[in-house]
């Protein structure tokens, strides 16, 4: 797994590969463009094809990676993973993450993510590290987050 959640207006982006800032911005725009035009009847997976990507480097990137996303209200959570990775496992990985956020922020809403952006990074790191799954147990993650919360 190589990139993590962003939404309509990017609320959080996490990168596990080297890109410079311009490239990151462009990639986010391209992901945004392909994801937001899709509806509920579409799959939650996108393999981006040649004609919709204009930069060769990005094309290469998308040849090797696919986007897995899920929409929650107005917020899209997208991850970019290797084309050979397991779609459903990552799709549920997103949901598991969202359930943790929901528990941690008590009915999470977009504003929580804005005001507590620095805490969201901590949640991500607890669950995903180096682009891989670190911990899947919601109980364990929440326990650890509350422990950190209690620290000064």
């Amino acid at each position: 797994m190589h990139t993590v959640p962003f939404s309509g207006k990017t609320r959080l982006a996490k990168w596990y590969m080297q890109f410079d800032d311009d490239e990151k911005q462009k990639l986010i725009e391209e992901v945004h463009a392909v994801v937001t035009v899709r509806d509920a009847k579409h799959t939650n997976f996108v393999e981006v094809h040649g004609s919709s990507v204009h930069c060769l480097k990005h094309l290469l990137f998308f040849l090797n990676f696919k986007i897995i996303y899920r929409r929650y209200a107005g917020l899209y959570f997208c991850i970019c993973v290797d084309v050979t990775d397991n779609n459903l496992a990552y799709l549920e990985g997103i949901h598991n993450f969202v359930e943790v956020l929901n528990e941690y922020f008590h009915n999470v809403c977009e504003l929580d993510l804005v005001f507590n952006f620095y805490k969201v990074y901590t949640v991500v790191d607890e669950m995903f590290l180096a682009g891989e799954i670190r911990e899947t147990s919601q109980t364990k993650v929440l326990k650890q987050l509350l422990m950190l919360q209690s620290l000064e």
Binding site: K14, Y16, Q18, Q25, R38, K41, H42, T43, N44, F45, V46, E47, H49, S51, S52, L56, K57, L60, N86, N87, L88, A89, L91, E92, H95, N96, E103, Y104, H106, L111, D112, V114, F115, N116, F117, Y118, K119, Y121, T122, D125, L129, A130, G131, E132, I133, R134, E135, T136, S137, Q138, T139, K140, L142, Q144, L146, M147, L148, Q149, L151, E152
Partner: protein, 969 residues
Amino acid sequence: MPAVSKGDGMRGLAVFISDIRNCKSKEAEIKRINKELANIRSKFKGDKALDGYSKKKYVCKLLFIFLLGHDIDFGHMEAVNLLSSNKYTEKQIGYLFISVLVNSNSELIRLINNAIKNDLSSRNPTFMCLALHCIANVGSREMAEAFAGEIPRILVAGDTMDSVKQSAALCLLRLYRTSPDLVLMGEWTSRVVHLLNDQHMGVVTAAISLITCLSQKNPEEFKTCVSLAVSRLSRIVSSASTDLQDYTYYFVPAPWLSCKLLRLLQCYPPPEDGAVKGRLVECLETILNKAQEPPKSKKVQHSNAKNAILFEAIALIIHYDSEPNLLVRACNQLGQFLQHRETNLRYLALESMCTLASSEFSHEAVKTHIETVINALKTERDVSVRQRAADLLYAMCDRSNAKQIVAEMLSYLETADYSIREEMVLKVAILAEKYAVDYSWYVDTILNLIRIAGDYVSEEVWYRVIQIVINRDDVQGYAAKTVFEALQAPACHENMVKVGGYILGEFGNLIAGDPRSSPLVQFNLLHSKFHLCSVPTRALLLSAYIKFINLFPETKPTIQEVLRCDSQIRNSDVELQQRAVEYLKLSSIASTDVLATVLEEMPPFPERESSILAKLKKKKGPGAVSGNELEEGKREGGELNGAGERPGDSSAIGASNASTPSPSADLLGLRSAAPVSAAPPSAGSLLVDVFSEAGPAAPAAGANDDGFLSSAPPSVVSEDPAPPLPESDELLNKFVCKNNGVLFENQLLQIGVKSEYRQNLGRMYLFYGNKTSVQFVNFTTTVSCPGELQSQLNVQLKPVDPLVEGGAQVQQVINIECLTVFSDAPLLNIKFRYGGALQNLTLKLPVAINKFFQPTEMSSHDFFQRWKQLSQPQQEAQKIFKANHAMDTEVLKAKLLGLGTALLEKVDPNPDNFVCAGVIQTKAQQVGCLLRLEPNAQAQPGEQMYRLTLRSSKDTVAKRLCELLAEQF
């Protein structure tokens, strides 16, 4: 459970974020940010020392501003200071700022590394995790240099806390991915494997990602993980839905870990130990059984988690490709999903079935779903699902269903999305040619293709249809009639005009008897399209006209008048003008006899059958091959899959390119078109020689020395493996930049190849197609690695069926392991009896060292730094050579990508140059390679040269790659 309140802890930050959100315009936002930046700057510069809390707050504000997309050029030092705080919240903000903002070249790196070192040795698990997360997030080379030795120790130490182990495992994975050379294998590696047994499922989940990555690169060293993984999997699969408590997700026990375990097993062949294998098969069966059980919950999370495991299990079953029972069960399960109401499942089932279709055990089972798949192609709303359906149709296509599938794909093309049309066109063209038994069907299909999706039909496709029509006289009349009808359409595609012009110019006489397609009608029809066409097409049409004068003397006055008019004879385009002038002159001075000779019907395109006889004759001296055999060779020249001569050029006078081939679209991997400048004066250039040497083209037999050869005729065959075919090196060259295509073909046998490579492992599928109607018996194949290749490459051949029925195709799997760098290719010997005669031929397997490339992205700075490091003379290989193909940037890029390296953009100061980087993965070592290709595109065509430079840490590699590549451009 207490919820987190908004922005608790840092009121100032919350106020600032609110202010920004309330800004009505971009300008107001920038103003507010600038005010805040000035404030923070003054605080940081002020005399009064800031307390930790303020520092944390300001650094956090800076981070927020940066994440909004503004540049931040200060505050780094304050962030680094926070790292040494004893308070978690301050440390966390410091680390976060550094992970997001500090790039690897920062001078602060020493200070940061120092702080990380302190935290790693602090024995405080919270601080250790923060430090490890920072390393994992930044993953720079500097950090790898500093910590690659330390982290394995933390990972395997007995007293390390579970949460720290989880972080350490993934942190190490990140460093191994970015700087594999710095992570040294050692005593820790054997202990890492045993983490699969750890009591804490979280530790296993994290560690397995690391183990999988390490196993891919060093399978031998980590192979003990197979039995551990099987027993762990078996424990999970057989547990009840609540046994694993925290790790049960919607009634599914440890879905992510199960997937990862199944994925790890895909790095290895099936377990050799019978007990382990039995246990694994049991697991796979249980997973398949569970798919049939009623769901424990109606929630989509439950079914997704369950199916995630199921798809991964099926992937493993396909990977093993050895359990017919499981393969067929998998296929049936996927068949159920094809009709599922969840789009995701339909999509994944189509995708997974595509790989099942290539297994000999499940191909037939997959075929039974053809109607459902066709229906999906027609009705699915999501284009990506339709694309998968099309892929699957392509994969399940064989002789029995080709007509149906091609028809469905054609009708889908009419409405297909632009993004997938080109690929679809190519697929249709390939299937039509591959499974053509009836050539009028083939012609119809290709003309339909041009009609429906003309823009997406590459040159190779229409060249092919012309070659085939010319080589098969039974279809020529039909082709002329069909193309004539197609041209009646008021708007027809330029490619159709090209095919039409060519075919009517050659075979218009076959339909001229019908008054509705009399010569003048044909001519007027073609000429009505003339003005709408581009220059190359017009040039082609002019050649068709002069051919008309020969075919139909009655059209001469009309055509001469057309040629004589100013718009032709004084055309500003040199090519058109020259043609008009020369054709006019030719038609007025040459006698009918000369005209008939010069403008004779095109001879069949040279085929390998004829060229082998010619070659044999040359070798053995005259008399070795009887005239009869020669004659036979010529007649058989009508074979479908001929050599790739380019009909497009045969009508072009002079050296200018009437059309540029695009080798990337090389159909079916047929030998790509000969470059114009280097084309031998063969039948194709007939018209060029018109004025120097009137006479028919050389007979096809002698024209194409570099064509394919068939297997040697029975008289010279012995039981020993034949020596490699003389052209096997050339065949090999075709596969340097691509993995799939036709490796070899003669009149009996076609060998297709499909291969995939991962790390130092490769898997190749060979498809032996019996082109005759008689069975091949005693069909055997062997692979040998001559000389030192034996110790460099491990090639494993799976058995192949000794009986190949007429018209059938059998598949053979070859596993390849690259032990160390190598330069020769393994030899593949094929023996079988066809009608009693032993056939014996030897080819080279298309495996070259570049197949094991792993692309490496790097910045310009890094590239040239490494370039300089590899400056010893033996590390460099260079070649300057003439361009064999047109210098088309996109084609060059495609080839360089096919090579397997990363193509680095904006690295070379000269934008015309190409630079690439990659690491060759062998079992023994990894070899970094850098490549630079400098074209002098400004030179005249024909004088264009390349300079190719390769540098690699191992000298033989640079040299070998240089040799391989110099043939490609």
